[in-house]
Every structure is written in C-alpha cells, then in structure tokens.
C-alpha cells in the first residue's frame, strides 16, 4: 500500500483529501490527514464578528465533518518532517511514513514578534481579528465604545487575506455611522505599503473609497513597537501614532513545525516552485496555500485554484512523469465596502486587478473593481458555497486559471 500524507486539515488540506480519495483506488493508496485542532474555522467570517454580523457559531464546524470516509484522520501536533527519510514525526514520537507529502499547515499570526503588542492592553484595547478570540473580544469592546481614535495597523508583509484590513475599516465606518457616533470616531489606516493596496489600479480605486469614507491613510509605516502606557505605535524611523483602540494584523508566520523541520524561510514559509507547487527541496513534497512562499495572496480562493493544479501534478509525479500543470497565481477576492456593497478583484502573478465583469464577460453578474450590491451578495452567499461545495472539492463554475475575458486593459 502506498501512502499519501497531508499535514493540515484547513481549507487546502481538506480539499485535497476529498479530491484524492475520490480519484485514487482505495486498495492502492492510503490517505492520512493530520491536524492539531478539531475545529474548522470559516476564516473569512472572522471579519464580520466585531460588528455583530456573525457570531462565533456561524464560523465553526467540526473538521471531521468534511473529511471523507476512507481517509484516516489523526488529531495531533507534528514535531517535524524528515524529508530525507520520507517520514513525519508526530508529537510524542509516533512516525508516519509517506510516498508523497502535502504540506498545508497555513499561516498564523504571531503578536509576540512585535515588542509591546501582546502585553497588558492585548485583547483589552488592542485586538486582532484573525483569531476567533480576538474577533469576539473586539465585538464586546465595540458594543459600548464611546468613540475616539481607531487605528488599523498592519505589522508585516505578507499577511493572510490582504484585503481584510481594508474591509475592516469600511465596515467600521458603517458600524459607527449606524451607532450614531461616527463623528466621534476617527479611523486611521496604517500600512507598510506605499498605498492602500499593492497593485496600482486597485490602489487608486480603494484609495478613493477611503477618502470618500473619511478614513485617513498613513502609508510606509513599518511598526517597531507598541507603547502600552502612552497608547501609541512607533515606527522604525521614529513616527508615532496615538490610538484609543488599536486593531492590528500581527506578523504572519508559517507553522513552527516548518522551522523545526528546517524547511522554512525567515518567516517559516516553505520555498516552493510557484508554477508546479512542488517543494524546492524534496521531489515528493508539495506545498499548498498559505504555507508556501509563492508570490501571490495568502487566501482561500488561491488555495482553491492551486488545489486543482497540485492535484494534476501529484498524479503526474505518482506516475514518475513531468509535472504538467502550471499555477498562474490566480486570486479572487470579494471586498466588503460597507452599507451593503462590495467590490471584487481578480488577478494573478502577472496581471494586476483590472476593471470589468466576472466571471462572464459583459454580463457578470459581478463587477470587477466596481462597488455594487451584487458583489456584496457574492460574499454573503460564499459562506454556504464554502461549507457545502468548496471544502468537498466539488467543481465550481469558475476557471482555475485567471482569464482576461471580461477585463478591460488600461
């Protein structure tokens, strides 16, 4: 019996388990998936918790519900991967051998990387919304907040879901407007990037939206530390920004296990061929999603598109053939812009987000780089698609490769 081992039962690992079990003969291939947690989080939903739109129960389900019959699931922390010997050692010493390994251990926030961040104000007046605990604590804070300086800060690149902090400030604008205290709240968006987003055309569109909503942007701010006494953030070049409440995207890092395995870069992301999705170090190891260092967004949509490519290439590798499929870095992100509207961007390694329609040229129904009600419905309905179709590896009616159809070049 040959063995496929998947580390991580998040979005990527779960999709792969479903695809592979369906495709491979059970007499021939044994499939095992390992994860340290039993809870599957619908992470795009975290953003809505601080504003009371979702609650905790809307975003959690048992991981086991999404792993198909015929796949072994082990709940355990991983000590390390020993790629030279084709084995993984679990916490406690149990050894799992593999013929092929898929690393899908994602990215986590690590507030301890920024001095002063995880100290006395943590989850009291300083919050992240990339954990369910942070998002829930922030909701409780916002419920009775009287207003003041709200500072949204990004600590380091890359980070998971690069549009989330923008969506956060748009939704905050709506939330405090409806609470009747928007005139008492000033919102500042602080980023290490030179503008609202990385790519020029989207930056212009989103930048204009920020101005329209009276949200101040402070670009090129690279945070060094947080001063809990004076309540301010300080950059490496000595700029200071005071806050009453700080919401932050802490430094993102790959799993500690990657570091223990000696397989990561300086942020524990695994060096990966950006086209084939194979590890640069081991021929029988593939890396899916946020855990890799490929130069595209760390996001569920990317994982979903990449899973198809990885699946095809894994089949090639099993037969000892050249890897045939090439990933193009396709990302597709809904951007909540507040007041029941949303925008949408679709891009890849080489093409920046452009205006147009998606997925059908001229028809849509979604508008690229437009601010529409329909885009918002796309985001709302996506939660259902995620639980019922995406995780189970079912075909969605969109292309894995980005297409220029429906896009307008500038």
């Amino acid at each position: 019996m040959k063995k496929i081992l998947i580390l991580g039962a998040g979005t990527g690992g779960t999709i792969m388990a479903n695809k592979l079990r369906k495709a491979l003969d059970r007499e021939e291939w044994d499939i095992t998936i390992v994860d340290k947690n039993k809870t599957h989080y619908y992470q795009p939903g975290f953003l809505f918790i601080p504003f009371g739109i979702y609650n905790k129960h809307d975003v959690i389900k048992p991981k086991g519900d999404f792993i198909p019959a015929g796949v072994n699931i082990i709940y355990s922390d991983v000590d390390k991967i020993v790629g030279e010997e084709n084995k993984v050692i679990l916490e406690g010493g149990k050894v799992l051998n593999y013929d092929f390994l898929i690393v899908a251990t994602g990215t986590q926030v690590d507030p301890s990387e920024t001095p002063g961040l995880k100290e006395e104000l943590w989850h009291k007046e300083i919050f992240d919304f990339y954990t369910v605990e942070g998002a829930v604590a922030l909701r409780e804070y916002f419920e009775t907040w009287q207003g003041g300086h709200l500072v949204m800060s990004i600590a380091e690149l890359p980070f998971k879901c690069p549009v989330a902090p923008l969506e956060f400030v748009f939704l905050a604008d709506e939330y405090f407007t409806k609470a009747g205290i928007r005139d008492k709240v000033d919102i500042t968006y602080v980023t290490p990037l030179p503008g609202a987003f990385t790519k020029p055309i989207a930056t212009k569109m989103l930048g204009e939206l920020l101005i329209e909503k009276n949200i101040k942007v402070i670009p090129d701010f690279y945070i060094e530390s947080v001063d809990n006494k004076e309540k301010k953030i300080i950059s490496y070049d000595g700029q200071e920004i005071p806050f009453d409440v700080l919401t932050i995207v802490p430094v993102n890092k790959g799993d500690d296990m990657i570091e223990r395995s000696g397989m990561g870069d300086d942020l524990n992301f695994v060096p990966t061929d950006k086209y084939t999705l194979r590890s640069e170090k081991f021929e029988n190891v593939f890396v899916l999603g946020d855990a890799s260092n490929i130069p595209t967004s760390k996001a569920g949509s990317v994982v979903h598109f990449a899973a198809e490519i990885l699946f095809e290439n894994l089949l090639c590798a099993m037969k000892g053939r050249e890897l045939r499929a090439k990933f193009d870095g396709h990302a597709n992100c809904y951007i909540e812009t507040g007041f029941g509207k949303g925008s949408l961007i679709d891009f890849n390694y080489t093409t920046e987000p452009l205006p147009g329609n998606y997925p059908l040229p001229g028809v849509g129904p979604f508008g690229l780089l437009k601010n529409t009600k329909f885009n918002h419905y796309g985001k709302v309905i996506f939660r259902w698609i995620y639980w019922h179709m995406l995780l189970k590896g079912k075909e969605l009616p969109v292309d894995n490769h980005m297409t220029m159809a429906g896009k307008k070049s500038q």
Binding site: L157, P158, T198, Y222, E224, Y236, T296, K298, Y349
Partner: protein, 101 residues
C-alpha cells in the same frame, strides 16, 4: 521607460528612476543616484547594497535585510532614511521591489 545619463553613461530607467538593466550598474552610478537622494555612500552603505544585489532575485523585505547580519532594521532606516528598501534598491540598480500580496 526614459533615458537618463548617470555618471556619464546613458541608461534606460523607469519613470521613478530605477535602472532597467541591473547588469549595467557600477559603483559610480550608485554614488550619483545616492547624491540625488541626498545620501553620501559609505562602506556600510555598499555592504548593504551588495547584499541587496546578491539577493534581488529571491525577493527582498526590510525584515530580511534586518536579519542579514550587516545592519539591523533601525540601522537600515538610518542609512537610507524615508523608504529604506525603495531607496536602497534604486541605488543598488535593481528593479523597484514589488510587494506581492
């Protein structure tokens, strides 16, 4: 793309002044670009610039330079005030670093 004469050499540069072809870079060119940024290059600057040129392909971040063993992040800001990664990349003759999120 535009043409620009730097240190007596006619070069192709981007709208923001980044060299189109990193292989044409010389220390003289670096000094002249630095002068436009009001920076007088020292040996320490050149150590950082060489690190940047050697690691340009793999992609650079401020954090990575802070871990280079040459300067820490604060020191990097001290050498190239304002936008250290952008300014040092321009002086090092490599393309403008793109954030790929």
């Amino acid at each position: 793309m535009a043409q620009k004469t730097i240190a007596g050499v006619n070069l192709e540069v981007s709208e923001e002044g980044y060299l189109a072809d990193p292989t044409l870079w010389t220390e003289e060119i670096a000094k002249e670009i630095a002068k436009e940024e009001n920076i007088e290059l020292t040996e320490k600057h050149f150590e950082v610039i060489n690190f940047i040129r050697e690691n340009a392909e793999a992609g650079l971040t401020i954090r990575k330079i802070g871990k280079s063993g040459i300067v820490d992040i604060k020191g990097f800001y001290g050498l190239f005030p304002g936008g250290p990664l952008k300014i040092s990349s321009k002086i090092a003759g490599i393309k403008k670093p793109a954030s790929c999120v």
